[in-house]
């Protein structure tokens, strides 16, 4: 097999007479994926999800701006550019693969990176507050909610087009910009998939290997049909989902996963009953789907009758991911009735493959939390794991998941500086600091709330969601973009980052200054201003660093973390009342997550009282700081994270690094099953696990291309380790050091 960056069509690579098993095809496709990953790593890599993007130099699109600043805004410009891309986009084809549908780039990233938001709707007053507290406002961010593929399976592109046209006729001219853009987009999608079908049909005739030629011929036939008609078979449904994913990614990176069994099992059962699908074929198709794109799928959970959703297809999905053995974003929804054999099999996969999948979410914690927002059980149950740390009801919600972050460690810094500036009038103490923290956190959260409303009000003027709009329930009937009232619910995700830095800092000053009188606030402030690099600075830094930390287990740091979490939760929930008159009935849901912003959010932060030096990254998500406990006890850490869950249906994930040796036999797997159940049943919402050979990752850190297939779960997403920048590799390595003190000693 040959690999070049420019190559996007792979035919006539094998002798005419060679026959392939499905496993051989998966292995060959996997090898191609690894080679492409190496190419991507050499091309610079990326600190994010893989997205299944192909790096190529065949096709580059030049943006056609509609604004003097070089960017694009509004329905017409997005529509025009997207349609132009579809008209020119070459077709990636691999004769070994069951599906076409590989994308090359995102239109949203072709814009100038600092010109995403329409300057006619600037927000300078809010921006000043965002800058003060280092708030990532979410304004200008796109997608981060989940479409319902079932709508596409029911209607097909032709049905969607028909509906758009019929609804346009029923609406007045104020809706025509929406309909005209959407209709043009769908017409171009249909034409694009048809062109793909034609092109693949032509390549089928060129392919000399009979088996692969037949595969291409079937691919062509399927594309020619589903370019307009709804999918009828399992293979057609999977192909439809792959196309949607590619089309959505190409527009603005939006993803399209969901509850895998609900979406595909009806097709699977029908085809099996009709005798046109075997399990081997189903596994192959699912493996190809996982290979096509790293989008998020949920498995198991409970159905509307509170019965286990696990079915035979759930097992086949694990088999497919197991055979493929690369980054696959599968989440197992845990509950009391889960099929224990399925659960154990998933844990075996986790440890055998060491690729960071699956991860585990808690049905109970998520259901109870979301229902506290006022939703009935039947709606809450439809909410699935659909992104890094997201929960979303496919086709029902606008969520801004993972786009809004308040750096609560920066809020601490603002409060600290105010306290020290007034130290002569009001003697500093942990309680004085807390009062100031409360004040500043409220300013930050309230501004964040106003920013979200600003985004919802004007996002259509910047970037309408022309693709994800199409798979929303009732949106086409309303004739508006999703941010203009097109969603059924607005459940906005508002995350705090830097919890451990803030909690450990509070705990360190209370313990070392208020209780032990080891030093004064003025002295600590002077050392912090010198970044602990002044005389006696390192001794003081060590004193503060070894304070009672969050994650230690019922420590002062844990108590402060709970106190901060309660404050954070109440302030975010208070936004609901503040904006109750907004016609979109916006709900604000608190969580703790940093995504991969730990470096960014630490970069502007000065030295903190917990012994952290200026510029060092903040803690990851809801996790404690590295070195939280001498034994690195997973249970202590997970109990601490369970205790700070806000409890409204969004997540504050546990990010866990585990050495593969602890589950190298049946007894070890039993212990890991118990560990996962314990973590989930203790009130945690989501568990991401890296199974990392500590020594291997230390070697890979020195020479990433030595292990091009090494996958790590960076935050909520998995990534090829070789694709990450040195800074991000260090983040992963440091976390692994924190819980593998012995294995990496001296490395």
């Amino acid at each position: 097999m040959s690999h070049t960056m420019s190559k996007i069509q792979f035919i006539n690579e094998f002798p005419a007479e060679r026959r392939f098993t499905y496993d051989e095809r998966i292995a060959l496709l996997r090898a191609r994926k690894i080679a492409q990953t190496e190419e991507k790593a050499r091309a610079g890599g990326a600190d994010e999800d893989d997205y299944g993007l192909i790096v190529q130099d065949v096709f580059h699109y030049k943006l056609k701006p509609n604004h003097p600043n070089g960017s694009i805004y509004g329905y017409a410009a997005w529509c025009e550019n997207y349609c132009a891309i579809l008209q020119q986009h070459p077709i990636y084809v691999d004769a070994l693969d069951a599906f076409a549908a590989k994308g090359f780039f995102f239109l949203e990233r072709l814009r100038p990176s600092d010109k995403k938001w329409n300057p006619d709707y600037a927000y300078p007053d809010l921006q000043a507050i965002f800058d003060t507290y280092q708030i990532i406002s979410g304004i200008d961010n796109c997608h981060h909610f989940t479409p319902d593929l079932q709508i596409g399976f029911d209607l097909g592109w032709g049905g969607i087009l028909k509906k758009l046209r019929s609804e346009r006729a029923r609406h007045d001219a104020t809706h025509h910009a929406f309909y005209d853009a959407e209709i043009a987009v769908v017409e171009n999608i249909i034409a694009f998939i048809r062109r793909a079908g034609e092109e693949i049909g032509r390549l089928a005739k060129e392919e000399q290997n009979a088996q692969l030629a037949e595969n291409l011929r079937m691919m062509s036939e399927i594309d020619m049909r589903i370019c307009s008609e709804p999918p009828k078979t399992f293979r057609e449904a999977v192909q439809w989902s792959c196309w949607f994913s590619m089309l959505s990614r190409t527009y603005n990176r939006g993803s399209a996963g969901g509850q895998l069994e609900d979406l595909f099992n009806p097709f699977y059962e029908r085809d099996v009953q009709a005798g046109i699908l075997t399990d081997d074929e189903a596994v192959f198709y699912l493996a190809c789907m996982f290979l096509q794109d790293s989008r998020y799928w949920q498995l198991s959970g409970l159905d509307e009758h509170d019965e286990d959703r696990t079915c035979h297809l759930s097992y086949l999905a694990l088999d497919a991911a197991d055979k493929l053995n690369i980054a696959t974003n599968l989440t197992i929804r845990m509950h009391d009735k889960i099929d224990p054999v399925f659960f154990r099999k998933s844990v075996e996969c986790l440890f055998r493959n060491k690729q960071g999948w699956p991860r585990y979410s808690s049905d109970k914690a998520l259901m109870e939390g979301f229902m506290r927002c006022g939703y009935p059980k039947e709606i809450a149950r439809r909410r699935v794991a659909a992104g890094c740390h997201w929960m979303c009801i496919p086709g029902m919600e606008y969520t801004m998941n993972d786009t809004v972050k308040v750096n609560i460690a920066m809020v601490f810094q603002v409060a600290w500086r105010e306290m020290m500036a007034n130290a002569e009038k009001v003697p500093p103490s942990a309680e004085v600091l807390w009062k100031l923290y409360e004040k500043h956190l409220k300013i930050a959260v309230d501004a964040t709330g106003r920013g979200i409303i600003h985004h919802l009000t004007y996002q259509t003027k910047s970037q309408p969601e022309l693709i994800l709009n199409l798979l929303q329930h009732g949106l086409i009937e309303k004739g508006v973009n999703i941010t203009d009232g097109g969603a059924n619910y607005y459940n906005i995700c508002v995350d705090a980052a830097g919890l451990a830095v803030a909690a450990d800092s509070f705990a360190a000053v209370e313990q070392r200054i208020d209780r032990e009188h080891r030093l004064s606030y003025a002295a600590l402030d002077a050392h912090m201003n010198a970044d602990y690099r002044d005389e006696d600075g390192e001794r003081v830094r060590q004193l503060m660093y070894h304070g009672p930390r969050y994650g230690g287990g019922e420590t002062l740091g844990d108590a402060w973390a709970v106190r901060i979490s309660k404050l954070w939760t109440s302030l975010v929930r208070d936004l609901v009342a503040q904006h109750k008159d907004n016609p979109k009935h916006v709900n604000f849901i608190p969580g703790f997550f940093s995504w991969s912003n730990t470096i960014l959010l630490g970069s502007r932060l000065a030295a903190t009282p917990n012994g952290r030096r200026a510029g060092e990254p903040i803690n990851h998500g809801a996790n404690p700081n590295d070195g939280f406990r001498a034994d690195g006890a997973v249970t202590a850490m997970c109990n601490s994270i369970a205790a700070i869950q806000p409890g409204y249906g969004n997540t504050a994930p546990v990010q866990l690094e585990v050495d593969p040796q602890i589950a190298n036999d049946s007894e070890g797997v039993d212990k890991m099953c118990a560990m996962i159940r314990g973590i989930i049943n203790s009130g945690n919402t989501l568990l991401n696990i890296n199974i990392i050979d500590a020594k291997k990752i230390m070697e890979a850190d020195k020479n990433p291309l030595k292990y091009p297939d090494l996958v790590v779960r960076v935050t909520g997403f998995t990534a090829f380790f070789a694709m990450l920048s040195p800074k991000f590799r260090k983040l992963v390595v440091d976390r692994i050091r924190a819980v593998n003190c012995e294995a990496v000693a001296g490395m």
Binding site: R518, R539, Q542, G553, D631, A633, A636, M675, R677, G678
Partner: protein, 271 residues
């Protein structure tokens, strides 16, 4: 009731069944030169000095902040230890785990261990002891009776080498192991693999044959050599006769497994 506790390790996966919290007590009546917790051997707390962590600040009297100078243990009450233990009850219940009292030699503190056992049982937490079984039977019997599991790290079958390596005879140990079978409490015998000392097939085989006759043995678990005591020995200013010794490879462990496979009626785990 108090004892000097050198460490409390939560999420311990190597100290018995399930997920456990291991409580290590100060003081041991043996002096095994390979011990990977050498700081637990003295009967009273000692200072460990990690030179590489020392800042050279000259303020040792104010209390070391960097972790260069640390005491081997601190005195804790049963209540204080329980406060740590009960935090992981959920994990014990999920995994069939519990608490393991280790050391040092726990039977040097029988009163504390028994009080801890009572406290665990009051909260429905299983407790095990990891003991060398060398103390007189009248001392250890009441302690063992309060346990849900006994783990014995019997090292050497032959008496003379045992005394030479550990400082104690082993007939008392075999005697106590035999008597303990009448208590009806499950027991795991766990000899450590120490290069050049305990690692003969003959030694492991003889121990296995002895315990195979007992009806309370649930497992014979041969533990791989643990080299992690080296840094602690340096910090204690002790010599390290096993500085160059390494854990046994997977292939070597497989050989031990094969050599012990013919012991009837014994569940064997090596590594």
């Amino acid at each position: 009731m108090k004892a000097f506790v050198t460490d409390i390790q939560r999420f311990s996966l190597q100290d018995g069944p399930g997920i456990r919290t291991a409580v290590f007590l100060q003081g041991c009546n043996m002096h095994c030169p390979w011990c990977h917790n050498p700081e637990t051997i003295p009967l009273r707390p000692v200072e460990l000095y990690y030179k590489e962590k020392c800042l050279g600040c000259g303020k040792c009297a104010e209390g070391c902040t960097s972790g260069a100078r640390v005491k081997s243990s601190k005195e804790m009450s049963v209540d204080e230890v329980m406060r740590e233990i009960r935090q992981d009850k959920r994990y014990y219940d999920e995994s069939g785990g519990g608490v393991t009292v280790s050391g040092g030699e726990p039977s040097l503190h029988p009163g504390f261990v028994m009080a801890l056992a009572d406290a665990c049982h009051a909260e429905d937490i299983s407790i095990a002891v990891e003991t060398n079984m060398s103390r007189p039977w009248q001392i250890i019997e009441p302690m063992l009776k309060k346990m849900d599991l006994i783990m014995c790290d019997l090292k050497l079958n032959l008496t003379i080498p045992h005394k030479k390596q550990t400082g104690l005879d082993n007939p008392t140990i075999f005697n106590s192991i035999g008597r303990s079978s009448k208590l009806g409490i499950p027991m795991i015998v766990r000899p450590p693999l120490v290069p050049g000392v305990t690692d003969s097939v003959e030694n492991l085989h003889m121990i296995a044959e002895y315990i195979a006759k007992m009806d309370n043995i649930v497992r014979y678990e041969v533990l791989n050599f643990n080299p992690l005591g080296g840094a602690k020995r340096d910090a204690l200013g002790m010599g390290n006769a096993f500085a160059d010794a390494k854990p046994f490879s997977e292939a070597q462990l497989a050989e031990f497994r094969a050599a012990l496979a013919d012991i009837a009626g014994l569940e064997i785990k090596v590594g």
